[in-house]
């Protein structure tokens, strides 16, 4: 099972035979009819909605607890920064830099606590009211984690840990279910389209490619382009910033430099009340879509690596074949050569015998080339792979002779190295 598996929201769109990474939405790549028949583990519609309500309930509970823990702390901070500001205003004559630094430090720490010191205090909305806390809980269990709001009390942090421990797997289940449903819906649509295309007698792979493209295009339109336009209109961001926010959120990176629905306070339009829940719902469905897209990209990587592996494997097979052929040829040549040299040695030995018998030298060595000596001569050349090495081994290099366990070949031992004989042998080559 791939490690980033079911319980991780990012990979929860897995719902059939797994690939190595988390699997893509299989409806895209398989025929949809197979999917409906052979997957008994698809969650039913009722189960999905039950889990959905459970998750919503869980979020509401989390939101209430966060609000109870954080809001008192927030009011304290607000009071402190207001007092600071009033003091500054009354003593504003001849501001020196140390006072300014202190003020700035206070401002910065207030901002980190989520309080905005600018503007009046009366019409500022709290960062920890119910809808914002709900949103925060959502960012925690989807592991997006914007960070524009974060708990500052110890109790809040401990609760956040426990909350996430339970909530992330829960959300993972939900995401799996949503992914399933999305896949089924999309699969039905694709089946209809494929039926139309089949009439045009297009090849199977082309159908797959076309359906993948449609999936990407349609999904991008529905989950990326449309929300980006909405965000641009409501939040007042630029096009790039909206798309940036969409991508960063749906891949669960969640920097928090742009957060939808952050612009509270006086400028809130009337429909802001249900804006945030709609955003959260969009995040849910968009996450399933993005998980599918990311796993598709992962599958492409895997296919590429597999193809490369195949090509490399083919190449290696060819290379192995080639080396096998070459070494077989080589061995054959060596064998012939060693037979050749053996003959030459025999002739050299016979010449030497004649010489020694004429000169009366008692050649006490065994002149016969026993099989052992023959393999010795053959092995002599096994170590040296190149042809030039052969000639080297015949020349009287005392070191070589000693290294090769001495060439007791027909009297070519160092003790009996007679230059005359060796010169004769060399001439015979």
């Amino acid at each position: 099972m791939a490690a980033p598996d079911l319980l991780d929201p990012k990979s929860a769109a897995h719902n059939s035979k797994p690939r190595l990474s988390f699997s893509a939405k299989p409806v895209v790549l398989n025929t949809p009819e197979d999917e409906c028949d052979t997957r008994p583990t698809v969650m039913r519609w009722k189960t999905v909605s039950a889990i959905f309500f459970l998750v919503v309930l869980y979020l509401i509970i989390g939101a209430t607890v966060f609000r109870a823990l954080e809001q008192p702390q927030e009011s304290l901070q607000k009071l402190a920064i207001l007092t600071e500001k009033l003091d500054f205003l009354t003593t504003h004559a001849c501001v020196n830099s140390s006072e300014l630094e202190d003020l700035i430090k206070q401002v910065v720490s207030a901002v980190r606590a989520g309080v905005n010191p600018s503007g009046n205090s009366s019409n500022q909305t709290s960062l920890w009211d119910l809808s914002s806390s709900f949103f925060f809980a959502g960012t925690v269990i989807t592991t997006i984690g914007f960070g524009n709001i974060s708990p500052h009390t110890e109790g809040g942090r401990i609760f956040c840990i426990i909350y996430a421990l339970l909530g992330i797997p829960l959300f993972g289940f939900l995401l799996a279910g949503v992914g399933d449903q999305l896949g089924t819906i999309f699969g039905k649509g694709i089946a209809k389209v494929e039926k139309m295309i089949v009439k045009w007698k297009v090849s199977q792979t082309k159908i797959r490619v076309i359906s993948t493209l449609i999936f990407i295009l349609f999904g991008c339109l529905l989950f990326v382009a449309l929300p980006a336009v909405i965000f641009k209109h409501i939040e007042g961001w630029s096009t790039l910033e909206s798309i940036y926010f969409v991508v960063i959120t749906l891949t669960t990176i969640g920097f928090g430099d742009f957060v939808a629905g952050e612009k509270g306070g006086t400028e809130s339009p009337e429909y802001l009340d249900y804006y945030k829940p709609v955003v959260w719902f969009w995040i849910l469905v968009g996450l399933a879509y993005f998980a599918a897209v990311l796993s598709m990209i992962g599958d492409w990587f895997r296919v590429i690596s597999k193809k490369t592996k195949e090509e490399v494997g083919e190449f290696r097979a060819h290379a192995a074949e080639w080396t096998a052929n070459v070494s077989a040829e080589f061995k054959e040549t060596r064998r012939r050569l060693s037979v050749d040299i053996y003959d030459k040695f025999q002739r050299a030995a016979s010449i030497k015998r004649k010489l020694s018998s004429e000169l009366g030298i008692n050649a006490s060595l065994n002149q016969e080339m026993t099989p052992g000596k023959r393999t010795l001569s053959a092995n002599l050349f096994d170590d040296k792979e190149a042809f030039p090495g052969l000639s080297l081994s015949l020349t009287p290099a005392p070191g070589t002779l000693a290294r090769n366990g001495s060439l007791y070949l027909n009297g070519l031992s160092p003790d009996y190295a007679d230059r005359r004989e060796l010169a004769v042998i060399e001439n015979l080559k």
Binding site: P4, D5, I104, G145, A164, T251, F255
Partner: protein, 318 residues
């Protein structure tokens, strides 16, 4: 043994390529963001000078000033006196940022300022996130053998039943992970960071390793941190290995739940049989060659295949 070494080499090459990818991202971010950051810093300095020149401060001017300070601070630029030395976008910090991007942690304490940076982040993330998942998966495949199967076989040989053995093993693994990846790093962080308590350290470890990444605590962010580069690199390595262990833990839990019938109870897709995927691991192992592998190597690269090893598949689900 040579083929085992080859597969390790390939994995090392894989990881090396991943590191190179991170470096590449870091370089690009650094070159894109640094000028913008410097400009923003200069503007805030000028603002401060103008403010100091005035002897009497009006409320409106103060509001304006504060608004600007906040806007700058939101982007990570501080106007305090001793903050001018270190940048948020030097190479090590950019690499840290790229790492948070592809592991989807996304602290947000540094975020791209320029439009080009944002566009690049989108592309970088779309490619980097699945790639990181692949790398993590490949690494975990290697870890399954020593961390899951060897202890399981050991437990079974000492006479325990297979099904409780998996539970015991999972609990042991969990305790090990909590100790090594939460407690110990939290203690280290609370010692190294000035304002962090032990609880803050655990909170940070948890938020990071679940890839939530709120960004209220980021190591190495305070000014005047000694050995900042080394510190950030160490934290990056910790994040990556911690993430790997979390996934391994999750996978073990899933298998265990599968075994005990929990996933069927919730009607979730179960851990599909591993023969399919383990026959083609992403990281090359020698058994993909045309030549037959020797059984020992096969056992090492496909740890769930041979019948001698206790596997989750061989454990009777009863």
């Amino acid at each position: 043994m040579r083929s085992a070494a080859k597969s390790w080499l390939l994995l090392a090459g894989f990881v090396l390529f991943y590191v190179v990818y991170l470096l590449f991202g870091a370089l690009v971010f650094s070159s894109i963001e640094r000028p913008v950051e410097d400009e923003l810093r200069r503007d805030v300095e000028a603002l401060k000078r103008d403010f100091l020149n005035q002897s009497c401060v009006s409320a409106a001017a103060l509001e304006l000033f504060l608004a600007k300070v906040l806007a700058a601070n939101k982007h990570g630029v501080s106007v305090l006196r001793n903050a001018s030395l270190s940048s948020n976008w030097d190479l090590a910090s950019s690499m840290f940022f790229a790492n948070t991007l592809v592991t989807t942690v996304g602290y947000g304490q540094t975020a791209p300022l320029s439009d080009t940076g944002k566009a690049f982040s989108i592309l970088y993330a779309l490619i980097g996130v699945p790639f990181t998942m692949l790398v993590l998966t490949a690494c975990i495949q290697r870890l399954v053998h020593p961390l899951v199967l060897t202890p399981l076989s050991f437990l079974q040989r000492s006479g325990m039943e297979p099904r409780p053995a998996t539970v015991v093993h999972f609990l042991l693994l969990m305790v090990l992970v909590v100790l090594c990846f939460f407690m110990v790093p939290a203690a280290i962080f609370s010692a190294l960071e000035v304002s962090w308590s032990f609880l803050d350290g655990i909170y940070f470890c948890f938020i990071s390793l679940c890839t939530i990444g709120l960004g209220d605590f980021v190591p190495g962010a305070q000014q005047g941190q000694k050995y900042r580069t080394l510190y950030q690199i160490t934290v990056m390595v910790y994040l990556f290995t911690g993430l790997m262990m979390m996934y391994l833990l999750l996978r073990t839990f899933h298998r265990m739940a599968d075994l005990h019938g929990l996933t069927a109870f919730f009607q979730l897709p179960r851990c599909e049989e591993d023969q399919d995927e383990d026959q083609e691991p992403i990281v090359e192992s020698a058994h993909e060659d045309r030549t037959l592998p020797d059984p020992a190597e096969k056992a090492a690269s496909e740890p769930l295949e041979p019948a001698s090893q206790p596997t989750y598949n061989t454990i009777n689900k009863g």
